[in-house]
Amino acid sequence: MKFLIKNILRIIPVLFIISLIVFLLVRVTGDPVSLMLPETATDAERAQLRESLGLNDPLYIQYFTYLGDLITGDFGESFRYNQPALGLVLERLPASFGLAFASMLVATLISIPLGILSAIKRNSFIDLFITGGAVLGKAMPNFWLGIMLILLFSVQLNIFPVSGTGSLMHFVLPAITLGTAIAAEMTRLIRSSMLEILGQEYIRTARSKGLLEAVVVNKHGFRNALIPVVTIMALQTATLIGGTLITETVFSWPGMGQLLIQAVNLRDMAVVQAATFIIALLVIISNLLADLAYRYLDPRIKYD
C-alpha cells in the first residue's frame, strides 16, 4: 500500500513534465485559429478568436492557465466535435484498450513458447529460425502487415472480418498486426533472459536434484526469466499504444488512435492534448502495475 502511494506521488513530477511537453508541442508550434475558422473569416474574427482562446497572453501565463484547467480535468473543447475533449478521449479508451490488451495477449502467447524454445535449443536450426522470424516480425511495418493479413485471411481465405468491431473475430487480425512486433521483441528478450537464467547456478542445482529438464526449464528457469520480461512488457505499452495509431487506421478500429490522428491533422489541439495526456497516464499506470507484478514475481524485492 505504502509502495503504491509512494509511486503515485512519484508520478506527479512526471505528469508535470508531460504537461509541459504537451503544452510546448501544441502551443509553441502551431496556431489553431486558421483551421478553426472558415476560409472566409476576416482578420478581425481571427483576432477575436485568438483573444478568446487566450492565445495572446504570454506563454507562461498560457501555461499556467492550461495547467489550472488540467488539474480540474478540463482539456478544453474539441472544435471538431464541439464536445469536451476529455470525454471524447475517454469514450474511445475502451476500444483502444481492448485492442492493446488483445495484442499483448497475442504477443505473450507467441513469444513465451518461442523464446523458451530458442533458448533451450540455442544455436540450433530451430533457434536460428525463431530468431530470424523475430527479426522479420520486427522489420515488418505495422500497416504493411495489417494489409497483408487482410488480403490473406479476409479477402482470400474469408476467415476473419476485414475491419471494424463487433465480435471476437474482429479482434484477431488487428491484434496479430499490433502484437507481432511486440512478440518479436519479447521473443528475443525471453530468449536472452532465459539463456542467462539457464546459466545460473541454481539451475545446475535444480538439475543435480534429478528434476526433469522440462521442470528445470519451465519452473526454475521461466519464473526467473519472467522478471525482466515483465518490465520490458510494461515498457512496451508505449510502443503498443503508439502502434494503435496505425493499426486502428488500417482496421478502422474506433479507438483513440484514429481520434488522435484526425485531431492532429485538423489541429484539434484540445483532443490532442487530452489524448496524449491520457495515453501517458495509461503508460505510467501500466508501468506501475508492472512494478507490482515485479514485486510479486521477485520475492527479493518484496521483502527488502
Partner: protein
C-alpha cells in the same frame, strides 16, 4: 546487505603465454566474426547497403524521379510482362523501382543513422551527467526521461511533424529528440554501476579528475553497449520512418525513402505486388543485417564474453 563478500573469480583463462601483438589480435576478431554466421551475414549486408547508398548515383540504372507514363506498373523482369529495362519493375508513375530503392537507401540510412547519432549524443551526455553526478540533475533528467517514455514515440513525432511540417531535417531532428531517452537511461544505468567499480575507485585514488574519470574510465566502458543499442536503433528508426510515411508525415517527395515507397505501394499490394514488396524486402534485409550485426557486436564488445 551486500551479499557477495568475495569476488567470484570465474573461469578465467590465464593467458600468460598467449602472444597478443596487435595483428594477431585483429585477426582473432576476424576469426570470431567469421565464426558467427549471422554476424558475418549482418556485416556483409550492412556494408553492402552502405556502399549502395554511397554509390547510389553511380549504380542506379535510371533517374529515380524519371516517370515513364507508358511503362507504368511494369512487373519485374522475371514475371510475365516484365521489361528488361526495369529489373524490379516500375511503380504507378512508371519509375524504376530498382533505381528508387538504390537511391532511397540514402535517405533511409541517412535518417536512421543521423537520428541515432543525434539521440545518442543527447542521451550520452545527459545519461553521463545524470549517472555520474546524481543529485538534482539526475532527478530532473530521470523524471524527464519518464515523461518522454510515457508518450509513445510515434505520437510525439506525429504531433511535431504535423505542426511544423515534415522535412528531412525535421524528421531527423524529431526522431532524435524523441528517442534520446533510451540512451540516457542506459548510459545512466551503466554509469551508476561502473562508478562503483574498483577501477574507478582506483582512478580516484590516484587523483584523477572527474573529466578524466568520465572520459577514460566510464565512457570507454559503456561505449560498447552503447554502440550495440545504437546499431539496433538504426533498424528501429528505419521502420519508424516508414510508419511515419504511412501517416503522410515521413519523407516527402521528390525525396525517396524505402518507407515512403512501401507506404505508397501499399495501395498496389493486391494488384501490383512488386511496388511495395521490393522496398519492404530492402527494409527487411537491412534491418535483419543490422540486428545480426548488432547481436554479434554485443557478443564481441562485451568484455564479459570477450575473455571466454
Amino acid at each position: 546487505m551486500r551479499m557477495f563478500s568475495r569476488i567470484e573469480v570465474k573461469k578465467e583463462l590465464t593467458l600468460e603465454e598467449t602472444k597478443t601483438d596487435k595483428k594477431a589480435y585483429s585477426l582473432k576478431w576476424l576469426k570470431v566474426l567469421l565464426n558467427s554466421k549471422t554476424g558475418t551475414l549482418g556485416l556483409i549486408i550492412v556494408v553492402f547497403m552502405v556502399l549502395m547508398a554511397i554509390l547510389a548515383n553511380v549504380i542506379a540504372p535510371h533517374d529515380p524521379a524519371q516517370t515513364d507514363v507508358v511503362n507504368r506498373l511494369v512487373p519485374p523482369v522475371w514475371a510475365e510482362g516484365g521489361n528488361p529495362d526495369y529489373i524490379l519493375g516500375t511503380d504507378n508513375l512508371g519509375r524504376d523501382i530498382l533505381s528508387r530503392i538504390i537511391v532511397g537507401s540514402r535517405v533511409s540510412l541517412l535518417v536512421g543513422i543521423s537520428a541515432v547519432f543525434l539521440a545518442g549524443a543527447i542521451g550520452l551526455v545527459l545519461g553521463l551527467i545524470s549517472g555520474y553526478y546524481g543529485g538534482f540533475f539526475d532527478r530532473v533528467i530521470m523524471r524527464t526521461v519518464d515523461a518522454f517514455l510515457a508518450i509513445p514515440n510515434i505520437l510525439f513525432m506525429l504531433i511535431v511533424l504535423a505542426v511544423i511540417g515534415p522535412s528531412l531535417m525535421t524528421l531527423i531532428f524529431v526522431l532524435g529528440a524523441t528517442t534520446w531517452v533510451m540512451y540516457a537511461r542506459m548510459v545512466r544505468g551503466e554509469t551508476l554501476s561502473i562508478k562503483e567499480r574498483d577501477y574507478v575507485r582506483s582512478a580516484r585514488a590516484v587523483g584523477a579528475k572527474d573529466i578524466r574519470i568520465i572520459s577514460r574510465y566510464i565512457l570507454p566502458n559503456i561505449i560498447s553497449s552503447f554502440i550495440v543499442i545504437a546499431t539496433l536503433n538504426v533498424a528501429t528508426t528505419i521502420i519508424l520512418e516508414s510508419s511515419l510515411s504511412f501517416l503522410g508525415l515521413g519523407i516527402q517527395p521528390p525525396d525517396v525513402s524505402w518507407g515512403l515507397m512501401l507506404s505508397d505501394g501499399r495501395e498496389y499490394l493486391a494488384t501490383s505486388w512488386w511496388v511495395a514488396t521490393f522496398p519492404g524486402v530492402a527494409i527487411t534485409i537491412t534491418v535483419l543485417g543490422i540486428i545480426f550485426l548488432g547481436d554479434w557486436l554485443r557478443d564481441v564488445l562485451d568484455p564479459k564474453t570477450k575473455t571466454n
